[in-house]
């Protein structure tokens, strides 16, 4: 399978990438690790006429302590997230979940920014960022803006990014973590989750988010309310499907996904230390 023909431009800086996006408009697509975009292009589900490769922007590959939050460059690969000592210490949920994405070859190429910008409800890291209460920094021709993760995922494979914007950074608040859990239910090791749950309990913050339970990654707000209101794990898990709209596919019916969501939310809350 070969993608349709396109022009290839490698950007040597964020500014150059944005200039190329501005010049080519809707016709252009950013290419980071290529592990969502290239499979779609091979199936001709995506046919951009210009690819702007940002894969060599090494200055957007970092994990830094930025005082009240951890700052992560958008081009940081899953493998880097999985092995970074600062991240393992400060945001173990993200570092662990990154190690569950795909397989080692996928993690050597795929990036955090690409994973979030792709806005696939079946992807792991969008739900993790929602649970952590993080935000994203987008840079465009008119400068930078910060977008809360809760405002970022607007539809199936759709995000709040403008066509001429580049994600440059992801910010995760430094939480006083009491417990966390990442539950990924799949049938084969390298697969996407049939349903997944990211949970974090911290001083002043409860975050629970769902993978593959609707057209976007979702905050399980019913569960969060229940936990904040003093419910135990089983009671809170009963509210796991509030606001969800799971699809049926070859792996699971909507009813089965709802069942999984309740079971996995309970397990996630228990593993996070809620009785």
């Amino acid at each position: 399978m070969i993608p349709a023909a396109f022009d290839y431009q490698r950007a040597d800086s964020a500014e150059e990438a944005i200039a190329l996006l501005t010049e080519h408009g809707d016709e252009a697509k950013l290419l980071a690790g290529g592990h969502s975009l290239l499979p779609m292009m091979k199936l001709r589900l995506a046919v951009p006429s210009v690819l702007v490769d940002v894969g060599r922007l090494d200055d957007l590959r970092y994990v830094r302590d930025a005082g009240d939050h951890i700052a992560i460059g958008a081009l940081t690969r899953h493998r880097d997230l999985e092995t970074d000592p600062l991240l393992a210490e400060a945001v173990p949920l993200l570092s662990h979940a990154a190690g569950e994405v795909g397989d080692p070859q996928v993690r050597h190429r795929g990036t955090l920014g690409g994973s979030l910008a792709h806005a696939d409800p079946a992807s792991d890291l969008p739900a993790v960022l929602l649970a952590l209460g993080g935000s994203l920094v987008a840079k465009g021709p008119n400068g930078e803006r910060e977008i809360a993760a809760t405002d970022f995922f607007t539809g199936f494979l759709e995000s709040a990014l403008e066509p001429d914007e580049l994600l440059t950074e992801v910010r995760v608040p430094k939480l006083d973590t009491l417990g966390w859990s990442f539950q990924k239910f799949n049938r084969r090791a390298q697969d996407w989750a049939i349903v997944g749950v990211a949970a974090v309990r911290a001083e002043g913050h409860t975050g629970v988010a769902l993978v593959n339970m609707g057209s976007t990654p979702l905050v399980a707000s019913g569960v969060v309310d229940a936990v904040n209101g003093g419910s135990n794990a089983s009671e809170a898990a009963e509210r796991a499907t509030e606001g969800t709209e799971p699809q049926g596919d070859i792996n699971a019916s909507p009813e089965y996904r709802e069942h999984l969501a309740r079971v996995l939310v309970r397990r996630a809350l228990e593993e996070s230390g809620l009785s």
């Binding site: 993608p3 290239l38 490769d53 894969g55």
Partner: protein
């Protein structure tokens, strides 16, 4: 466009369309047919090569993305007639039957040991999750990788 790679230690340049996938570039432009294509959909790992020392699925990377980088294929592992210790270990432990998955499996295994020189059996199984084998049932592949790790390859 012109693409230059250092393949198995030798600089190679060839002309290719931007949409050329790395695996086709290696096989068709450079004549290195040791790297197999299995699924062509990033699932099976048969096309695994190393880019700057790390395992990647060459059916899911453009040759253009590898321009200027160094690529190692199965052809680059042996030292003349002397097989790489991982290749020897696959041979000694019967880690292959039809051999179709083997080039990718060996490349994934070498990358795995670079990152984790003494893995547990479970770590080997997880580390090879991106590579499918339809023949062996995996046990002898895992044995081969553990033996290679033991031998300090």
């Amino acid at each position: 466009m012109q693409i230059t790679l250092t393949v198995n230690g030798v600089e190679r340049t060839a002309e290719a369309e931007p949409r050329t996938l790395l695996v086709y570039f290696l096989r068709e432009q450079l004549g290195l047919t040791g790297t197999n294509i299995g699924c062509d959909t990033s699932s099976c790992g048969a096309c695994t090569v190393h880019v700057d020392g790390e395992s990647v699925k060459s059916c899911t990377m453009l040759a253009a993305q590898a321009d200027g980088l160094s690529v190692t294929t199965i052809e680059g592992l042996a030292d003349g007639d002397e097989l790489h210790p991982m290749q020897k270990s696959f041979q000694e432990n019967h880690g292959l039957q039809c051999g179709y998955c083997t080039p990718g499996m060996v490349m994934a295994a070498v990358s795995l040991l670079d990152e984790n020189p003494s893995p547990t059996e479970q770590e080997v199984r997880l580390g090879l999750e991106g590579n499918l084998c339809r023949c062996t049932g995996y046990h002898n592949i895992v044995k081969a990788v553990l033996a290679a790790a033991e031998a300090g390859s």
